[in-house]
């Protein structure tokens, strides 16, 4: 009796994870073959990719540091995706958040105030910047029916230019540096460390995971988002304001991406550095999109997949350093995993 229940459970579990097993298997097979063809030691490469993140205290912290912005940009995509809209603008929202955070930080650096107050002010400003920047795309969709795939990407490019402007123009620009970057923010404004080099932004990110889960599962607005995503017509008939729901998802998504930008500035760089939103060869926003698609944008799956992705990204960095494997290969594998996962999920649905 007991045995049959557990075997039924196992079967259920297998059905759930089957598409992922097949997708990951195929993707890694492809990567393995590619690595082999290119003359790398395949076993050594995979070992580095997977185990680097656990190899030392430093590497564990590095993984958590990658996880922090990644989980936020993943939600930035995942929340509007609940109602089938594509926010691929988390890169722009993140760097706008970081840029405004820097401008504000430098602006208030001469005013005496408690550290905590300054940090809260700056991070709030970063989050609101991201939220309103994303809201441009949300409003263009809600009121003018302009495709968010186009609008969010365009806003990314605008943001990149704006960041470059701030990083290369007085009074913000740091003098005598080759790379565009701003002056340093004062030490007391930076995020305190909680463990070795791990800053408090990690805890903020975890808090946001709980916040998103709460919004999506325990509030009316979360219920409305779910209804619209499930069946737009039915939701409309039941009096849910589609325009409002669209705006809310973009606002929330952009808010998290903007916060990620603020956290990176205050927690990692201590200033605005052009390209601060890039990790392992691509933007956190791009990896967030991939992570969200793999996780199916499920609020509970997002942090888990984002964590696995951080391990992979950290491994990829190490792979590039130690074995000279181009980081793009890992990037390629991840895009492949997405395509395979969504395909397999569809395939095994029937």
């Amino acid at each position: 009796m007991e045995n049959s229940i557990s075997s039924a459970r196992l079967k259920q579990l297998w059905f759930l994870i089957r598409p992922y097993v097949f997708a990951l298997g195929l993707a890694f097979l492809f990567t393995g073959v590619m690595l082999g063809l290119l003359g790398f030691n395949v076993w050594e490469a995979f070992k580095t990719l997977v185990t680097t993140s656990f190899s030392s205290r430093f590497q564990i912290v590095e993984t958590f540091k990658k996880f922090t912005p990644l989980v936020l940009t993943t939600f930035a995509f995942a929340i509007p995706f609940q109602i089938k809209f594509f926010n691929i603008g988390s890169t722009g929202q993140m760097i706008m958040g970081g840029t405004i955070a820097t401008i504000l930080g430098l602006g208030i650096s001469s005013i005496k105030m408690p550290s905590a107050l300054a940090i809260i002010l700056i991070l709030t400003a970063a989050a609101l910047t991201g939220a309103f920047y994303s809201l441009i795309a949300g409003a263009l969709k809600a009121y003018h029916n302009i495709n968010p795939i186009v609008s969010t990407i365009m806003l990314n490019f605008v943001a990149i230019q704006f960041t470059n402007f701030v990083a290369t123009t007085p009074p913000w620009q740091a003098p005598l540096t080759g790379h565009p970057m701003s002056k340093e923010l004062p030490e007391w404004m930076l995020l305190p460390k909680i463990f070795s080099e791990l800053h408090v932004g990690f805890l903020i990110a975890l808090g946001m995971v709980a916040f998103v889960y709460f919004i999506m599962k325990k509030t009316v607005i979360g219920y409305e988002i779910e209804s619209v995503g499930h069946n737009l017509r039915a939701a409309e008939v039941h009096g849910i304001n589609i325009k409002k729901t669209t705006l809310v998802t973009f606002f929330l998504g952009g808010m998290l991406a903007g916060l990620a930008g603020g956290i990176e500035v205050l927690g990692v760089h201590g200033r605005l550095v052009e390209g601060f939103a890039v990790t392992s060869g691509a933007e956190y926003g791009t990896f967030g999109t991939l992570t969200a698609l793999i996780s199916g944008a499920e609020p509970l799956a997002v942090p888990a997949v984002a964590f696995l992705m951080s391990i992979l990204l950290n491994g990829a960095d190490s792979l590039q350093r130690s074995l000279m494997v181009p980081v793009e290969l890992v990037f390629l594998t991840q895009a492949l995993i997405v395509i395979l996962v969504v395909t397999m999920r569809e395939r095994f649905k029937k």
Partner: protein, 304 residues
């Protein structure tokens, strides 16, 4: 006068980037496939085109390689969509990222890290005698081969869509696949062919960048143009002739922004570099009431 002519010529030189890419999207789009992978397709094609042209010393082989890479992307998108019915947008976005990774990887693997990036053989120019002496007109006809091919393709796609039986069938597939299926049109085949050919056009647009505009491949050299092409296709209501006009507009914006950036103004140059991206949003907003979409665009079709 001389300056205006020079600017005009530069604008026409930039036109194929936007024309070919948005025309490629129109081809597949008219049959119902919304291909948003243009950015990745163009990047991968730029890399492939540059490498092949450099290795063989032949620009034509470079353009063909770019077209083949583009066709492969288009085929991948339509094949995955038609067999699994996974959202075209998800596949498209994944292909954007895949293309960005693939382009740099190809470059690194074949050419490695180099101090001096060699220039690929450029697409030659054809001057038409006498006519090329006429000011203004000369800007349009004193051009590289691909520009002439672009003119021909715009006319060809227009003719195909509106003046032939195949074009009528193609549009029927995009408007009402079920009805098209009932009268015996092969919906799936139509989507495969148009999206693959459209991919090839996107590929040529990608290969055009290193082989005409810059001479070399640099990472992310498409710089958002693949997405601007999507915007052009949309505000042009998926019509080839309007696509061409939209392409000219954005080539003009890009050239003017480049000139302004070089000139000495009080406005920081970054704000000029923003103009194409803000421009496409403005234009889409201006045309929002006028745009038409093929009715089945982006939607999967299955018989049951």
């Amino acid at each position: 006068m001389e300056v205006v002519n020079e600017l005009l010529k530069q604008m026409v030189t930039y036109t194929p980037i936007y024309t070919l890419s948005s025309l490629g999207l129109v081809l597949g789009g008219r049959a119902g496939i919304f291909n948003v992978s243009g950015e990745g397709t163009m990047l991968a094609a730029a890399s492939a085109g540059y490498i092949v042209a450099l290795q063989t010393g032949n620009w034509l082989l470079g353009i063909l390689a770019a077209a083949a890479m583009g066709a492969a992307f288009g085929f991948t998108l339509v094949a995955i969509h038609e067999t699994t019915k996974v959202s075209q947008f998800i596949i498209g976005i994944s292909l954007v990222i895949l293309g960005a990774g693939l382009s740099d990887l190809l470059y690194k693997l074949v050419l490695g890290v180099q101090l001096f990036i060699p220039e690929a053989p450029k697409v030659p120019e054809i001057r038409i005698p006498l006519l090329s002496q006429i000011p203004f007109l000369s800007a349009f006809i004193n051009q590289n081969v691909v520009v002439y091919i672009t003119y021909a393709l715009v006319i060809f796609v227009y003719y195909l869509l509106y003046k032939t039986k195949q074009g009528l069938e193609l549009r029927a597939v995009g408007e009402n696949p079920k009805a098209a299926d009932v009268v015996g049109i092969n919906v799936t085949l139509t989507r495969y062919v148009t999206t693959t050919l459209g991919g090839a056009l996107l590929g040529i647009a990608g290969g055009y960048l290193p082989l005409v505009v810059t001479g070399t491949y640099t990472p992310n050299m498409t710089n958002g143009r693949g997405f601007i092409a999507v915007g052009i296709a949309i505000f042009a209501s998926w019509r080839p002739e309007r696509t061409f006009l939209g392409a000219i507009l954005f080539a003009a914006i890009e050239v003017v922004a480049l000139q302004m950036q070089l000139s000495d103004t009080l406005i920081p140059y970054q704000f000029f570099l923003m103009t194409p991206f803000i421009g496409i949003l403005v234009v889409m907003w201006l045309f929002k009431k006028k745009v038409e979409f093929p009715a089945s665009l982006g939607k999967p079709y299955s018989r049951e």
